[in-house]
Each structure stands twice: as C-alpha cells, then as structure tokens.
C-alpha cells in the first residue's frame, strides 16, 4: 500500500512536469513558428523590393524603347545605362502606365507597390517645370504681377513668400500655401532677406523686381546670388519688371523694345502651347540680343518677326539656369500661354498606409540627370 502510494505520487509529479514541459514547448513552438513565418514574409518582401529596384535601375526594359510605344512593353526598366535613370522612361511610367500594369510587369501579384524619387535633401524629384523646391518668391504688387504667386499657390511645392509692399500680405493673397511669409514695406530689405536665406532654397523667383542691384545690394550679396545659380543646379527666375536687374549676372538688355513676341521653342517651363503662338506683353518691354549673349541662351520667345532678339529667355549660367519673362500683366487672363512651373512629381503607386504591415523600402542611389537621387521602391502587404 505504501509502496503503491509512493509510486502514484511520483507518477503524478512526473506527469505534471511532463505537462508543464509540453505546454512550454507548445508555447515556444507557436512563438517561434509565428516569428519564422513573419520573417519569411519579410524576407520575401525584401527580396522582391531589392529585386525590383535592381531591375528598374539596371535594365532599359523590353523593348528598350518601350517608352515610345507603351502598348508593346513586356518588361519594365527605367535606365539608359546601369544606375543612370532615363527621364523619358520615368515620365512614361508615371503618365502612361497604370498601377496594375506596373504590378503585373514587376510580377507583384499579392503585394502593393510604391515608387518615388527624392533628392538627397529629401525633396521630391520633379520632371519638367521648375524641378527643385523649396522656392523663394518675391512679389511687389497685387493683383497685377502675381502670376507666379497663383502658380506656386496650387503647385504643392514648399515655398516662402517675400512681400515688399507692406508688413502683411494683401487680403487677396490670403490664404495661401506658402510655408513662411516675410513681409516688409521696404524694397531693399525684402531682397536682402531673400539673399540672406538663399541656402534654404533651390529656386528663386523675383516677380516685378524694381531694385537697382548695384545700389541695393552690397558686393557680398551680389556674389551670393551669382553663386546660388552658377555653383549648383539652382534656378533664378525673373518676371519683369526691371530687365537691368539681370546685369547683376552680366546679362544686359539690348536697346530694342517690343511688346509683340512669338513662341519659338518649348522648354520644361513652357509646354502645351504651339510654336508660333503670338503673345503681347507690356509696352516698352526690352529684349536680349541672342548673338551677343554672354552665356548659352535658349530663346523661348523672340520679338515677332525678329529672330535675333529674345523676349522670354533661358540662360545656362554655370551649373544653374536663369529665366526671364517680360511683364505678363497685360496678357489675357494674366497668363503666358503654356507657362507651367509644375509638371510631374516622381511618385507612383500606392503609398503605404499606417495600417500597412511589413513595409520594406529598398532605397537605392542612382544618377538622374546630373544629380544623385534616392530611388525608393516600397513593397508591402
């Protein structure tokens, strides 16, 4: 009896321990298998993300000129040579291919896909228009001479406004999408503020500037504005009023004036308009002599019937560009036909939501034009 009892207690004890161990084992099995399957999903997504990004940046696609006829595309590649993306192919994907088409081409059946390109300063790459934000915008008069204000206001750009005709904006310019407003009733001060803050911007617009550059800006400020354009790929864009302000860059207007222009070339900022379209500007608009231009010049608009004189001009100035348009406030609807500072933001697909699980971002460094650019391929479920 005692012996039997002893064996029962022992058995009970052993079985209890076995059950505890079994339960512990089962719990850990579940935990580990859940972790393993989660990791397998992540690994699958990571392999896909890296594979897709590799393919996009190393392949031109099939056929290699698929962008000229997207109906014939059988594989999607974005490069013109490895690690150098082709602007035309990227644009063709954004404009001519649907999300589902791209998913099929990349063989992403049960996964979602998001593609974007960012400059190394984290701002979106844009194709066409003015490619680089943030933007500084200087204005003097409302409601006239604020065409660029209207374009910026609906652009989605990050931009700041510098208003030189009062300590606050006119009511017609409020609300707006500007990040910061700098307002002062002092022409000289407003321009100095822009120049002081140049390091915050990639593009500067001066609309209706009346300053005397050699009197209002000291030598350091003048040099800062020149360096802003010629040492990087920044853009200086001036809309009237004083053509002589461009002399700061060594670009002097010719003695010939005309208010009649003809569009002769298209550009990133001048699209969706026919070459040969005639435009009327403010009387007394000065032109720029094309033959004697100190820098490579592209005439977007010339004086009507005088191909030697430029009215809407683009100069390559060092690594950057300078644009000039005459006064546009007398044109119908205050709009130069075809003028567009915003075209395409390089972003495609479904942006992961906060509920998305296992978002894998394969960030690759590529060349786009002359710039280093981060190409993000996000794959998620």
């Amino acid at each position: 009896m005692y012996k039997g009892q002893l064996l029962s207690t022992e058995l009970l004890f052993a079985v209890s321990i076995l059950i505890v161990l079994f339960a512990l084992g089962a719990y850990m099995w579940n935990l580990t298998s859940a972790r393993i399957s989660e990791n397998l999903i992540k690994e699958d997504l990571a392999i896909n993300a890296i594979g897709v990004s590799d393919y996009l940046l190393k392949s031109s696609g099939t056929p290699t000129d698929w962008e000229s006829n997207v109906s014939k595309i059988s594989s999607l590649g974005l490069s013109k040579e490895i690690y150098v993306l082709d602007v035309t192919k990227v644009k063709a994907m954004l404009v001519n291919l649907s999300y589902n088409q791209v998913k099929d081409l990349l063989n992403l059946k049960d996964q979602e896909f998001y593609f974007r390109m960012l400059y190394t300063d984290s701002y979106f790459v844009r194709i066409g228009g003015i490619p680089r934000e943030p933007v500084a915008y200087y204005a003097r008069q409302y409601p006239f001479d604020t065409e660029i204000f209207e374009l910026l206001n609906k652009s989605g750009f990050i931009w700041d406004i510098y208003w030189r005709s009062g300590s606050s904006l006119p009511s017609g310019m409020i609300p707006n999408t500007a990040r910061n407003v700098y307002a002062v009733n002092d022409e000289k001060q407003a321009v100095k503020w822009v120049i002081k803050n140049l390091s915050n911007y990639n593009t500067v617009f001066f609309e209706d500037v009346h300053n005397d550059w050699d009197e209002d800006l000291n030598a350091t400020e003048q040099q800062a504005l020149r360096s802003f354009v010629n040492t990087t790929d920044h853009t200086y864009f001036q809309v009237q009023h004083d053509e002589d302000f461009l002399s700061l860059f060594g670009i002097n207007p010719s003695g010939v004036s005309s208010d009649k222009g003809t569009i002769v070339n298209l550009d990133d900022v001048l699209n969706n308009v026919s070459i040969g379209t005639n435009v009327t500007f403010q009387t007394g608009t000065k032109s720029f002599d094309i033959a004697t231009s100190p820098y490579p010049i592209k005439a977007l608009m010339i004086i009507k019937d005088d191909p030697t004189k430029c009215l809407f001009c683009k100069w390559a100035y060092g690594k950057g560009y300078i644009y000039y348009i005459p006064d546009i406030n007398t044109i119908t609807n205050n709009v130069v036909p075809g003028l567009d500072i915003v075209e395409i933001k390089v972003e495609f697909g479904l942006k992961p939501t906060s509920e998305a699980s296992n978002v894998i971002n394969s960030r690759r460094i590529v060349l786009f034009g002359n710039n280093f650019v981060n190409m993000d391929v996000m794959i998620w479920k």
Binding site: L6, E10, F13, A14, I17, L21, L24, G25, M28, L31, T32, R35, I36, N39, K42, E43, A46, I50, I82, Y83, V84, T120, I360, S362, R363, R364, I365, V366, L367, N370, F372
Partner: protein, 146 residues
C-alpha cells in the same frame, strides 16, 4: 523519505536538462531567423555609392575634398563610412606589374570606426591621361550604422 528525496532530485535534474535542451533549440531557431534586411541594405548602399561615384567620374579625380563632398551628399547622416582608395602605377611600359603610389592614395573617415557590423564594397577603376592608362585604383568603402 530519503528515497523520495533521491527521486525528486533525479526529476529536478531531468527537468533542468529538458529545459536546457528546449531553450537551446528555440534559441538557435530564432537566431537563424534574424532580420537580414539591415545588412543587405547597407551592402546595397555601399556598392551603389561606389558605382555611381565611379560612373560620374568622381572617384577618378582622386581628390579627397571632391569625393568627401559627394559622399556627404549621398550617404544619410546616420551612416558612418570609411573610404580607402589605393592607387597603383604601372611599374613597366607593358603594365605587367604595378606599384603603389602612396602620395595619391585617398583615405576618408567620417566617424569613429565600429567594432563590428559594418559592410564593405570594393570597386576598381582606371584613370586615363592622353588616352593612356595613368593609374589603376582600388576603392574600398565600409559603411555602418552610427
């Protein structure tokens, strides 16, 4: 009583052995399933960086400042890097052997070196002068999370 104690100790010993085995198995299993994406990402960053610096001929300049400016532009702030470029010259006219040109070597380091967990990539490239090979160089870029 003494006999019972003997059996209990035996059981405790058995349980400990069983627990050690169970934990050991699961530890090894979970270790083999660690997320490899971060190191894969670093390896892509380092190889991509060398490729594009080579593509736009920045490496060819062998100019520390130019290369450093580009690296600072390309690599995110949370990454540390060490770049070593060793430059070789042909020792004879037929370029059958090479010798190191120490004066042209480039060394860049942007933070203290990590003790582990860094990834490195290598790329060799040529520099030309008057349509002839001037130097043969090997670049070695190590990157790590700061």
């Amino acid at each position: 009583m003494k006999k019972g104690l003997f059996f209990s100790l035996d059981a405790v010993f058995a349980v400990i052995v069983a627990l050690v085995i169970i934990f050991g198995i699961f530890y090894q299993l979970s270790k083999s399933q660690q997320d490899l994406f971060p190191s894969l990402y670093l390896s892509k960053v380092s190889s991509d960086t060398l490729v594009i610096l080579n593509k736009n001929k920045i490496l060819e300049t062998l100019n520390s400042t130019t290369i450093q400016d580009s690296l600072n532009d390309i690599l995110p702030d949370n990454l540390g890097y060490e770049l070593n470029i060793t430059v070789f010259d042909c020792s004879d006219q037929n370029c059958n052997s090479f010798s190191v040109v120490s004066s042209k070597n480039v060394y860049l380091l942007n933070s203290t070196l990590p003790e582990s967990d860094f990834v490195n990539s290598k790329r060799s490239f040529l520099t030309f002068q008057n349509n002839r090979i001037q130097h043969y160089s090997i670049s070695n870029l190590e990157v790590w999370l700061k």
